[in-house]
Symmetry: D2
Subunit: 425 residues, 4 copies
């Protein structure tokens, strides 16, 4: 462990932690990443529109929301020239090192925060140490450390004798499962032979590294809008087309989609609402929800059934249905060849006392889009977990990472990249 690198990375992580930004609002974050990449000196640095396929972004906030975060980033010191490129919420970056003949290896890290408040407890390290969030959002899933590890690996590989091409993908919008698809569709991973993605924590303690995470639940995140007709609930109830009745019928039947013997499935109507006044038959209602499945097929089974439920519920109550995709991700499997190499690398890394070969996630993650893209073209991919002692659970107000694991992550990933390029498994 180099002390200088450690301090630099911790500073960066804490700066990012102080400025968490949710999906498509990672203006300050992207600006800081650009600064770091320029410091390191990369051969190519793509940001914003250059890495996101046209029309593939989902869950983009409205202009007012974007403007608020844009100004906040500016006020926090984001670079004006970078901000201009990101206008409209085209955030994220890809940094490329070209080091002669050799395979193309990529590392994907995600960079967005969550829309939740951070703990003000004195026992919460970011509060105690003075780097608690200043934006109202929170890095409650450790993506500040992911971005930092991305920089750390980039820097270390840049200084190594790596032969080939190395890309670090700083992906926006993972929490909305919205950021990976436009990057996958942009084609910037089409030449990648080996892809590693990384996550910190996941209930694994500092010192444990899981070389291959599997059991991603494929997920589809949708929004259904029911539009009916209002009517006075006292005078003319029969004139209404009740969007809330349609919504309630849909909710009941969504949760009742048959269980599937082929494997686990999930359904949730996570945010719902409707109506305008107590005495008006509600003309508008919505469900923002998700379906999941252990495999992409299982998720598609749920999605198909859910869409039928939504359509029939709307029709039943004379409403029209607007159905849109908010986000999503397929299932994925970590390739054994890469898992083996990462496992070996972690075994030999200082600070790793529990090298683990495989574990399941049981959740969703849109890195799977990128893994699929690479695997479809004959490449290999693995999803690595760097354990960390985290006092609160992921997504809670007291989540935090043990900063020693950032060094471990950089070391394991760097060593893995070097071995992969050398062994070409």
């Amino acid at each position: 462990m180099q002390r200088a690198r450690h301090d630099r990375l911790v500073d960066l992580r804490r700066d990012l932690h102080r400025h968490p930004e949710p999906a498509w609002r990672e203006f300050y974050t992207t600006s800081r990443i650009v600064e770091e990449c320029e410091r390191i000196g990369v051969d190519e640095l793509l940001v914003g529109p250059a890495i996101l396929a046209d029309g593939e972004r989902t869950a983009v906030p409205d202009d007012e929301e974007l403007a608020t975060w844009y100004e906040r980033a500016r006020a926090a010191g984001a670079r004006e020239d970078v901000l201009e490129e990101l206008a409209g919420g085209y955030t994220g970056a890809i940094a490329v090192l070209e080091r002669g003949e050799g395979p193309t290896v990529a590392l994907r890290v995600d960079i967005d925060g969550l829309l939740r408040e951070e703990s003000r407890s004195d026992e919460h390290v970011p509060t105690k140490e003075g780097f608690r969030s200043e934006t109202g959002a929170m890095h409650a899933c450790g993506h500040d450390s992911h971005a930092t590890m991305g920089i750390g690996v980039l820097e270390t590989i840049a200084e190594s004798d790596f032969q080939g091409t190395f890309k670090v993908v700083f992906q926006p919008g993972e929490e909305m499962v919205a950021g990976a698809k436009p990057i996958a569709e942009s084609g910037h991973l089409d030449d990648v032979d080996y892809l590693l993605a990384v996550h910190i924590g996941l209930d694994h303690p500092t010192g444990e590294v899981v070389a291959g995470i599997d059991d991603f639940l494929a997920v589809h995140h949708f929004r259904a809008d029911f539009s009916g007709e209002p009517a006075h609930a006292g005078a003319d109830p029969q004139e209404g087309k009740n969007a809330v009745q349609a919504m309630a019928t849909a909710i009941q039947n969504l949760y009742a989609i048959p269980r599937n013997d082929d494997g686990p499935t999930r359904i949730n109507a996570g945010m719902v609402g409707g109506g305008s006044a107590t005495n008006i038959i509600p003309e508008e209602a919505f469900i923002e929800g998700e379906v999941r499945g252990r495999t992409t097929e299982l998720m598609e089974y749920m999605r198909e059934r859910a869409e039928q439920v939504l359509e029939s519920a709307a029709e039943m109550h004379g409403c029209s249905l607007g159905l849109s995709t908010v986000g999503g991700a397929p299932s994925a499997t970590s390739d054994a060849e890469l898992v083996g190499i990462v496992h070996e690398a972690s075994t030999e890394t200082e600070g790793v006392d529990t090298p683990t070969e495989r574990d399941g996630l049981g959740g969703s993650e849109d890195a799977t889009y990128l893994m699929h893209r690479v695997q479809e073209r004959g490449g290999r991919a693995a999803y690595v977990c760097i354990g960390t002692d985290h006092p609160g659970g992921h997504h809670t107000a007291t989540f935090d990472v043990d900063e020693r694991s950032i060094d471990i992550g950089v070391d394991v990933l760097t060593e893995s990249v070097l071995r992969i390029a050398g062994e070409r498994p």
Copy 2:
């Protein structure tokens, strides 16, 4: 009151009471009516297929059920030649007296029983006096007395100086709101200038006569069959198309059809069922139900909404829907001109101590089909209630009529028919 007529009518009523027959199974009943009409000597006597428009009967039982009642009627002494005409469940009769120039006046009486058991209590007069039902069904709504009044009025008019044409319609299948429509469609009422329909009881005591009943709820009686796909509930639940889920979704939404500011509406899923085994995803389910409205328009509003609910519920669960009409009747109003005459007649009839001009039914009755048919062609119609002390409520096991009201009914109706023919209101 003539003693001989009284005794004869009471004998007839008790004979019919002993042999109650439900819709389209009134074999013995029709045979007895034919015998009485022949005894009286009518100018024309139509039975069965002759009075029922092709394809308009609904709620016809299956062949096995028809055969059971046919044989039971034969065993009870129904005339073979009549039975032959009624084959296939074409029951009921129209008797016609032609007495020269004059208007055509008609009286409609219904003749069917209900599928329920009769009380065995010694306090129940039919049990005590030995004329309790022998068929398993029951005359729990007094149609035995209606048929008897029809014979009584026919006989009395036949002996009077009535000028014109007089028809008595002995209608089957009222309890299923199924018998009036095929008679209306047969055209046999198209020449009728004045129509009276009669009901006994309705919570009015002996001595009260209501000249004009209104507030009929229009009714539509439907059957919905959901057909899905079975699957093993343990091994492959996802393979099923669950007809019971479709049914349950429909039931919830049927009852939730919006109330209508234009007037009272009703909905009932009165008989429902589905499934074949605990461990099989149910492939079949049904709802037999009804919608009603104070007006025909209100009933149609309910019907339209109900059908949308049923169709969408089936579609939601991948089921097909079979929807059929079991019965129905429109709303109707008694014409003031006839109500006035019947009211006058009842005022002057022995035994009537509470002549009442108007009251509401608040239920449904398919006499309304016949009333409409007559009114549409410029004729007039009224629905008359002959009060009777009835110990149990209509449709209960202890319903019975005070036989004195049969004489009152015959007298009021005969006098009304004579006055109508004379006054031509």
Copy 3:
């Protein structure tokens, strides 16, 4: 019609129209009313806490909302001393004239606006004439003219030879059916012998006056909050207590409460919502809704059934239920004696070309609380409608009143008050 009075009243009405304030936020409005009452010179003037029974207000906004409107009223010129008395949203006023021996007669007018935007069309008179709303709310139901009529009648009675006590109740919060109950419970109407309430418009044109409005639907406005337990929808769905499922089950069954043969009923789940994130099993959900009935008993029938549905739905999904009353009003009937006098008075009033004795409302109104309070103690009450040509319907963006009807209202009501005091019906 006096030109000076007319101009004064129109000025007042337009000033109020420019400053519409919703329930418990009528700070500017109350201040203006106080100014007018002081100008007229009343014997007693009660505002705010003095007229509202402790703990009986419902639908009170939170402190922040109250503060916003309080400051807006101050900025618009509301009197500081009055505002102080109204702190906490204790709005409204009662003005009293004591003129010797004689009965106590009261007039109730409501003063609140609606939370909806006003039309910006040049065809909309308030826009064209420059008195469009400046607050974001709107006087879309004519309460600006009601308050104005209250002042007009107060002024005219003050100048008359009226003998007895005359009270004008300037009631807040009618649109939330929340303002009448705390006034009724305050006891300030307990000495009232005769009460008139007034409404403008209701689809009656200028020149029509309805002496007695009936057919108020009793109403109960509730809020149900379901609290369950959150859980990750992918990782641990079984750990959640799903408040949205409880809410959906309740909605379906609320609308399905059986129709009641005793008369019209209503139910509406007018505003609903729940959940926090797509991937979290929703722990919170709410229904803000209403039940109504043609009679108070019918409303209570609906309320009882609705509460059972809400409780069982919560229990079914392991949620707790918080149930609160937002507002409500009983049904009511206008007393014939008062209706007769108002009808006579309107017949003889200039500008009234269509005096009408009775009509039905078919909606709800919390004046009924005050009518009940007076009637329970042996007094008499009537609800009067002053017709006005209104281009848009009540509660729409283009609602407006024909200002001539303000004069008509003042004249009819003043004459009615004088006759009532004279005749003591």
Copy 4:
């Protein structure tokens, strides 16, 4: 393979196949088993009440149904003395061989048929060969061959040098998951050291033997009866307590019980119904359904949630709920020690070309009650599958077994019993 034994067993199997009898109606079957046991000569033979714990039977048919099958068995030639012991539906038997010192080994076979019609196709062997069902029920799951194997093993062990105690449990009522529990509770297995249970087929072909079946879904089969109040749907809908609405609410919410991350769960409302007439608010309704889980805990999770749904749905609609258990079975695991021995035995058995160590059932089976009983007391248990070519799937009209597999089953099981007794694993 001995020809004589083969012919004898085939005769027996075909006789049983011709007389399939469902749960608690296995009168003829038990009589035939008794005859065979007496032929073989056992040391103890227990039937009926002696092997069924008091009050533990569920799903017992009513007296009329029992009488019908009792008479049918008598007519088919069942022994009068045996029938007398079975009166009341106490069917089944346990045969015991006592052969000196040694462990107690038991074999459980189930003997009941299914209530479904058998194919009449000429391609269906039982039809072609003349042993198609004569009872209207069908051995569509191969229990005829199970009973036959029980006899075959009993006979072969009786002729062997087996040392110890050997019991064959001929269990009734497996298809209703109702027969094992009363046998377990009777204590007759409490001295058993080793238990084997056997099933034929399960999609494994002739020549395959699976030594240990696992992945039983624990199951709970319930009946819920909702009792409300009837009312006339036209006249007084508000007077009813609608059991069908309660049922529909329950169905919707049963299927919507949250999926559980701990493993597969199942829910089915397999048979439902309610109501008496179209125009009567339904006072009665029922759901006969089941919940399952991969583990007993998962089943209990589903059961608890289901019961809450049923209770709250009843309460919501003012109905009372009657909830009863129809049947059920826990999950279970085959012990490795026995699996190993059975696997070895099958490997060396003639006719077994695919010895398989383990497979999953993915369904339910109440043998698990008996396995649990034995395992709880320190014994060991395994569930063995004898493959057979079956033309139609289990429970279908064309299910049949390849009779060669009966011999294989007898041989594998006999050899296993002998080795178990010898090795005492």
